[in-house]
């Protein structure tokens, strides 16, 4: 239970930090912010790695590997496409 409270504390504080740092977003950056933050949600790869390589049953490992593939697509594709978009904005400055 104590671990749960500790996790919950981190969760609530992080949400507050999120709201604080993303106050005003110019419309030009709505899409890049979305795809960039979406790439950060690829952090699920950490969980996927722990399950795919951990000491579980083979089936759990397979689920983990599927999760690794999905999270990797999410983060690699997300960061790359965000970079591509932002470079377009920069071109004509």
């Amino acid at each position: 239970m104590e671990i749960l409270i500790a996790s919950f504390t981190v969760f609530v504080l992080s949400v507050f930090i999120g709201f604080e740092i993303i106050q005003k977003v110019p419309p030009t950056l709505h899409t890049p912010l979305m795809s960039g933050s979406n790439a950060i949600s690829g952090i699920a790869i950490i969980g996927a790695l722990l399950v795919s390589g951990g000491n579980y049953t083979p089936w759990s490992n397979y689920l983990g590997i599927a999760a690794v593939i999905m999270a990797t697509i999410n983060l690699v594709g997300g960061f790359l496409v965000t970079h591509r978009m932002l470079s377009m904005f920069k071109k004509r400055k």
């Binding site: 890049p32 390589g53 759990s60 397979y62 689920l63 990797t72 999410n74």
Partner: protein, 466 residues
């Protein structure tokens, strides 16, 4: 390694995770300012690289074969998606990525669940609850995103399902009951039933939402994918998952509310009101009959000769016609004749937050030329010609005049005060809101019927000929 070493090693890993959490915070903050956006994205990527490499040193990982294969396949597909995608397809790509993030989180929860239950290892109640949340939110995100993808791609039509609130209520009760049963007796069959219910909820949650509300849905699914990742952090007691996930959740929620505000609707109204257009049928004949003035490329070119201020209002039709480069051609022609060309951007024009900005940037249109709705509305009187390309609902005066309209109260780009309005559109068919647009019948409006791209090509040729 003895116990002490294991412990200090694990502290080292946690410090590396903390570093990547800090990088994520700076990264997201950077993404909210035009000057720092590129750096912000790179910082985020660096944070991700550090977190991933750190995790590989975790002593709970005993086999690397599957990991290497998984990362290899994922990287390859990710690169192909990111390089090949056209900016018109960005909403679909973002929807897909959201879905993948949700699916990964659900799979992690399931892997942990099956792994622990089949080896008779004990799952504490808090962890079980976290697993249930993670599996549930992840599954809803996956199916909601798939449906959103289907709608964006034109594969799935908006549907009003009778009795949907009752079905959703029953499903939610079902999930609560199944969740409680799982905490008491964690069995595979109950877990699969819960996943089934979550799948239905995900599908039914996006199915009735109208196409015009897509920007809200995409932003909300973005928030959900973050929340899903965050819950897996509770499952594995891993802080970096919790922190990064909740940061994404917060940013997605902020975007969601920006979009809702741009439509003057509450989130609940977007999610639960469905498409209500069928309830108040305004006869389009009454609005349009005998009042439509058609025009041609030559006529518009003449109109544009000698004017000072031109405003272009793009909508999703521009994206569909892939006409952003032709818009730039037209603007270049006009600017050579000392016309000042600006673009009026409605916050929910297109299918995703910021969609128009990205499209026009792809065509090398400088972003100082893109004017926000509130600013452009205050100086509409100075506009000689407003050219509407593939936009409809976001310029529909019914939003201000008809309180029963499905778009009542939505802020619009009020082009009616411009001296002349040219609407480039395929036909008089209604937009997503399903209602006629009295702007098209206004005395100072000329309708230029045709495919956006073809019409612009003709128009550019006509302007050059003069």
């Amino acid at each position: 390694m003895n116990t002490l070493d294991t412990q200090s090693f694990s502290s080292l890993l946690n410090i590396a995770y903390l570093l990547s959490a800090i990088l994520f915070i700076f990264g997201l903050k950077g993404l909210t300012h035009p000057k720092t956006a590129i750096r912000g994205n790179l910082l985020g990527a660096l944070g991700m690289a550090i977190a991933t490499i750190t995790c590989l040193f975790d002593q709970n990982i005993v086999s690397f074969q599957g990991i290497i294969i998984g990362i290899g396949i994922g990287t390859l597909i990710g690169i192909i998606c990111a390089v090949k995608i056209q900016m018109t397809g960005m909403p679909q790509l973002v929807a897909t990525f959201n879905g993948l993030g949700g699916a990964a989180s659900a799979l992690i929860a399931l892997g942990e669940f099956f792994g622990k239950t089949s080896t008779n290892a004990t799952l504490s109640v808090p962890v079980l609850i976290a697993i249930i949340f993670s599996a549930y939110i992840g599954t809803v995100t996956l199916w909601g995103s798939l449906l959103a993808f289907g709608k964006l791609q034109g594969l799935v039509r908006d549907r009003n399902i009778p009795g949907l609130p009752v079905i959703n209520l029953l499903l939610t009760i079902g999930v609560l009951v199944l969740g409680t049963m799982l905490v008491i007796t964690p069995t595979t069959s109950i877990m699969l039933a819960l996943i089934g219910a979550a799948t239905l909820i995900g599908v039914l949650f996006v199915l009735p939402i109208g196409g015009a509300d897509m920007p809200v849905v995409i932003a909300l699914l973005n928030a959900l994918s973050g929340l899903a990742a965050s819950t897996t952090g509770f499952v594995l007691s891993n802080n970096i998952l919790i922190i990064a996930g909740s940061l994404v959740g917060a940013s997605g929620l902020i975007l969601t509310f920006i979009m809702c505000k741009a439509m003057n609707r509450s989130l609940a109204n977007v999610l639960f009101a469905g498409t209500q257009s069928s309830q108040n049928n305004i006869d389009s004949d009454d609005v349009y009959q005998g009042k439509i003035t058609e025009t041609s490329a030559e006529e518009v070119a003449m109109l544009l000769d000698g004017v000072q201020q031109v405003l272009i209002v793009p909508g999703y039709g521009l994206a569909v016609a892939q006409a952003q480069h032709n818009v730039r051609d037209l603007a270049n022609c006009l600017e050579k004749n000392d016309v000042n060309v600006e673009y009026g951007i409605h916050p929910v024009a297109g299918r995703m937050p910021g969609h128009m900005n990205v499209l026009l940037a792809e065509a090398d249109i400088p972003y100082e030329k893109l004017i926000e709705m509130d600013t452009i509305n205050t100086r509409m009187e100075a506009v000689d010609v407003a050219i509407i390309i593939g936009a409809n609902d976001v310029v529909n005066p019914f939003a201000n005049t008809d309180p029963n309209s499905p778009i009542a109260g939505m802020p619009i780009i009020d082009v009616s005060k411009a001296r002349t309005i040219v609407v480039i559109k395929r036909s008089l068919s209604p937009g997503f809101a399903g209602i006629p647009n009295p702007l098209f019948a206004a005395d100072n409006t000329l309708m230029f019927f045709g495919d956006g791209k073809k019409a612009l090509v003709e128009l550019v040729a006509a302007v050059k000929d003069q």
